[in-house]
Amino acid sequence: MILAVLFANSEGNILVERFNGVPAEERLHWRSFLVKLGAENLRGAKNEELLVACHKSVYIVYTVLGDVSIYVVGKDEYDELALSEVIFVITSAVKDACGKPPTERLFLDKYGKICLCLDEIVWKGCLENTDKERIKRLIRLKPPVDF
């Protein structure tokens, strides 16, 4: 299960947070934990450089893209390896939607599109689509080209 996908700006303000199977009362805790993790480790990280952490049986893979930091949390079958796949799809879809590693402004400009991409990538905690070209078509309700 992919427990959470979270986007934050460089100051740690939340841009997008989507939780699956995380009780409402634990979400705030997760949010501050992830933002703290990013603040401690993402400084100086290169675009799309993956960082990884684990806490008990939960894995966290996170990265920075332009002004935005991205966190993916998973457990069970979504271990660090599967999550790195997920975050790779997310970063490429976001880059694609924005045309480049986004500034915060650009990210917010393309907010609707990014939400649609996320909807195609993670579906209630499962990875659904992994190909950015296909995602690009799907969010415009165009069928994939490769079938």
């Binding site: 841009l15 997008v16 949010r31 990884v52 660090e80 790195s84 402004r105 609707g112 939400c115």
Partner: protein, 887 residues
């Protein structure tokens, strides 16, 4: 809640101006009214939806009314033909997740989309419907979903499959009907469809071992298209291997070749998954491990942190069971200590601590010291625990390791972290005599400035035991007495006890201890004053009668011989009377989890009316109460031991019977727990007829039949035997259940008047030597062994003949003796050729026994065993050898 977006600087207003600046829920909800316009503006509507999404994605919530309003407005947007807007509408409906009575508004629109010619409408409608719908609607759309699973458009198929994975949680019976379609989708040429289908198919069939095994067999031969699916397959394969391993111990491991071939896959994810699967195989051999370790080693120097993390995490696990297999990677792991990613560095350090050799300890400690300051407490605890085991492994290195522990003890840290350090120091002091003095001083320094009451009292208690045995006990007094001035009442009371222990053990300190104890008589706390008075009296500080040394030592240092839980229960059961509470009446056996009396499997749970009480609780005191309440057995004295229930019938028979053996000094009572599993009959006058002709030393003295045994309401019947006192008599008993059967009218539940006599053959029962030994553990075997002394030590060697492996031999001896394995020595590392096992117990007559077993296995799998016994009684040591010799 989310912090509002803050505009940073006026200068770069152009660049930084957020489209959501000053966004407010109320205003956006107002804006959502545009959804109701007769002339829809798709662009404007999309913008409003984006704002709503922004609010929701920041953790904002809508009230029930707000959500309903927005939802109804959004459903109007189905009228628009704008594709971009339609996509947004799908997303918005999912995000709002409307409640059941509202869903009806959109179902017809969504059903229409689900049958649309446009594939993308179908895919999205499926996802939305499955997200918001409940079971009843599902049956209506099931037909479409089944079609969708095998749709030629992979997006539609995936949408249906992933929906299936989610629906399986809530409506498994529906999804299970889709197996055929899902099976077909597993063969799909689209990589992701195959991945999703495989995941769903496995979930549908996860309880059917054979089906999973077939699935794995066919797919490992065929082609799996995506790395993700390949990873799933590896996991399912290792599950199949795990389950089949118990059936075929010998021969080649099934599917191992497949796992090994995955090590050469082009996707890193697959390689790591395969390596991990191999390292986790049951009883993995070093030949099997080598290729996996080799690929993991390569990943340690990967440029991608995720791969480094995955590799070191796996190696860390391997190091727990096969440290030698990982030593080749030591150099690579050492370079990871400076890894920017702290998780990787911690894993590297803890792995190295397990695999490192004696010469590298000092270097390693130096590296760790620099590293400790910048990791979190939870990582530090892991490191401390690893250092503790390292120190026990290389006792000669205690100096640098103890120094390290004392240094980190002085630094900031939470309770759990400090406790881990203290525990480690205590264990090192206990097990490495040379480390004692320096370790105790470190502890003393720590309590001078310790904010945790629990830790202070633990340390004071420990000081009281170990301090007086050192070369200069007086140097600890200062630290202890300081506590009386500076700490809270709990710690002060502990300090008083500790001082008393010094006074009792060190004659030269006694007068000075009295002075200090007398000062405590004026303490503000009752407990502190009481303890001071008590100890002064016991030690003779008030000029009163001095207790004998032995009594005093027993009082101050003797451990409470009974488990605290048992003492608590006994005290609760004690009813005030003229007879005072006798601590010897408290059972000494450590209770495991209360065993629930086994019910015959397959039996339906009792329904209707009140459920009948299940069998008696099998805990020792419950037995004791039960037996003492029966007049025939009340003269048997104190119950020594009750065995675990032994089944005398097979599962699923009409009457199930198990027996508990209760051992007294001169008697044995068999308690037969009987259950009648036939609703149509009632049993009366139930008794067990025991033939003891194969148990010569026993003679039957009493039998207590059970008047009536209705359906599903367990009852007990007893038979008691006398045996010679002090003899561990053994023997075999055959049993027949005798009773009168009466038919029960199912409509009224009443039994007929007349019954028929009948009998039922039960399995034989044995009283064995292990029944006379209580499982009583000791916390520190080495200390217990040494303090027992070699007076009554008996050592001999035995050949145990050919065995499958050492584990089997060790378990056989433990079961034969019925003693408590200590310090986890019952676990034999896989593939080891020799093993030592420590056992402790109490022999009937309350005689403590300790046993040291050393096993060795040779090439022909012949097992030899050396048995060393120490006990408080010569005859008991001999008896243990007799048990082994005749077993």
């Amino acid at each position: 809640m989310a912090q509002p977006f803050v505009k940073k600087d006026d200068d770069d207003e152009e660049a930084e101006y957020s489209p959501f600046l000053g966004i407010e829920k109320g205003a956006v909800l107002q804006e959502a009214r545009v959804f109701n316009d007769p002339q829809l503006d798709p662009r404007r509507c999309s913008q409003v939806i984006t704002k709503l999404l922004y609010l929701l994605n920041q953790g904002e919530t809508f009230t029930k009314i707000e959500a309903t309003e927005v939802f109804f407005a959004v459903t109007k947007l189905f009228q628009s033909r704008d594709i971009g807007l339609r996509r947004m509408v799908y997303l918005m409906i999912k995000e709002l997740s409307p409640c059941a009575d509202e869903v009806i508004i959109v179902t017809s629109s969504l059903m229409k989309d689900m049958n649309s010619k446009t594939d993308m409408y179908r895919a999205n409608a499926i996802r939305v419907l499955c997200r918001i719908t409940d079971g009843t609607l599902l049956t209506q759309i099931e037909r479409y979903l089944k079609q969708a699973i095998v749709d030629k458009n992979p997006v539609v198929a995936s949408a249906a499959l992933v929906s299936g994975i989610h629906i399986l949680q809530t409506n498994p019976e529906i999804v299970k009907r889709w197996s055929n379609e899902v099976q077909e989708a597993v063969q799909s040429r689209a990589a992701l469809v195959q991945f999703h289908a495989l995941a769903l198919l496995h979930q549908i069939r996860q309880n059917d071992r054979l089906a999973v095994s077939k699935l794995v067999t066919s797919l490992t031969r065929g082609s799996v298209r995506s790395p993700l699916a390949q990873c799933l397959l590896i996991r399912y394969t290792s599950q199949v291997i795990h389950e089949s391993a118990s059936n075929s111990q010998t021969g080649e491991r099934p599917f191992f070749d497949y796992l090994e071939s995955c090590l050469r896959h082009k996707a890193e994810m697959v390689i790591l998954e395969a390596a991990r699967a191999i390292t986790e195989l049951n009883g993995v051999t070093s030949r099997e491990l080598t290729p996996a370790i080799t690929v993991l080693q390569l990943f340690l120097s990967s440029s991608k942190p995720v791969l480094r993390f995955a590799a070191i995490r796996t190696l860390n696990k391997v190091a727990m069971t096969h440290p030698m297999a990982v030593t080749n990677c030591n150099i690579d792991m050492e370079s990871l200590i400076s890894d920017q990613n702290r998780s990787i560095a911690t894993l590297a350090i803890t792995t190295l601590l397990k695999t490192g050799n004696e010469s590298s300890v000092d270097r390693l400690m130096k590296q760790i010291t620099n590293f400790m300051s910048d990791i979190a407490d939870e990582f530090k605890i892991v490191v401390v625990e690893a250092i503790r085991s390292l120190c026990l492994k290389f006792p000669l290195k205690y100096r640098s390791l103890m120094n390290f522990l004392s240094n980190i003890l002085r630094e900031e840290g939470g309770f759990e972290y400090k406790k881990a350090i203290i525990d480690s120091i205590v264990i090192l002091i206990r097990d490495i005599p040379e480390a004692k003095e320096s370790g105790l001083l470190h502890l003393c320094e720590f309590i001078e400035d310790c904010e945790f009451t629990y830790l202070s009292t633990q340390i004071l208690h420990f000081l009281g035991i170990e301090g007086p045995k050192t070369s200069d006990p007086s140097k600890y007094i200062r630290y202890i007495y300081n506590r009386v001035h500076l700490e809270n009442a709990t710690v002060r009371a502990s300090a008083v006890s500790t001082m008393a222990k010094f006074g009792a053990k060190v004659e030269s300190l006694k007068p000075r201890i009295f002075v200090l104890l007398r000062r405590c008589l004026l303490d503000s706390d009752d407990e502190v004053r009481d303890r001071a008075t008590l100890y002064l009296n016991t030690l003779g500080g008030h000029g009163s009668e001095v207790e004998t040394d032995e009594n005093m030592n027993e009082f101050l240092f003797g451990s409470l011989e009974v488990p605290l839980v048992n003492l608590e229960t006994s005290l609760k059961n004690y009813e005030p009377s003229d007879e005072s509470f006798d601590i010897n009446s408290v059972p000494k056996e450590i209770k495991s989890q209360p065993l629930a009396e086994k019910k015959a499997p397959g039996k339906k749970p009792a329904t209707g009316l009140a459920a009948p009480p299940s069998g008696p609780a099998t805990t020792v005191d419950a037995y004791e109460r039960l037996l003492s309440s029966i007049a025939e057995f009340s003269s048997f004295g104190k119950l020594f031991k009750s065995s675990a229930p032994v089944e005398l019938t097979e599962a699923g028979t009409e009457y199930t019977v198990n027996v508990v053996k209760h051992i007294f000094d001169r008697h044995v009572v068999f308690q037969y727990n009987c259950t009648n599993t036939i609703p149509e009959v009632l049993l009366e006058n139930v008794a067990v007829i025991v033939d003891s002709s194969d148990a010569e030393e026993f003679s039957e003295v009493a039998s207590k039949p059970l008047p009536s045994l209705p359906y599903d309401s367990p009852g007990q019947t007893f038979v008691a035997f006398e045996k010679p006192d002090g003899v561990t008599a053994i023997g075999k008993f055959s049993n027949i259940l005798k009773f009168i059967v009466k038919e029960v009218d199912p409509s009224t539940g009443e039994a007929e008047e007349d019954g028929v006599e009948d009998e039922y053959q039960l399995e034989d029962l044995e009283v064995v030597a292990a029944d006379y030994i209580l499982k009583v553990g000791v916390s520190n075997f080495r200390n217990a062994w040494e303090s027992m002394g070699a007076d009554y030590e008996r050592v001999d060697e035995y050949g145990l003949g050919p065995r499958e492996n050492l584990t089997e031999a060790v378990n056989a001896v433990i079961n034969l003796l019925g003693m408590q394995p200590c310090e986890g020595t019952e676990v034999v590392p896989s593939n080891s050729r020799s093993h030592s096992c420590l056992l402790s117990g109490v022999y009937i007559g309350n005689v403590k026994v300790l046993v040291r077993l050393s096993f060795g296995i040779d090439g022909q799998r012949d097992v030899a065993m050396k048995l060393a016994v120490r006990s408080e009684d010569e005859s008991v040591s001999d008896a243990i050898h007799e048990i082994v010799a005749s077993g």
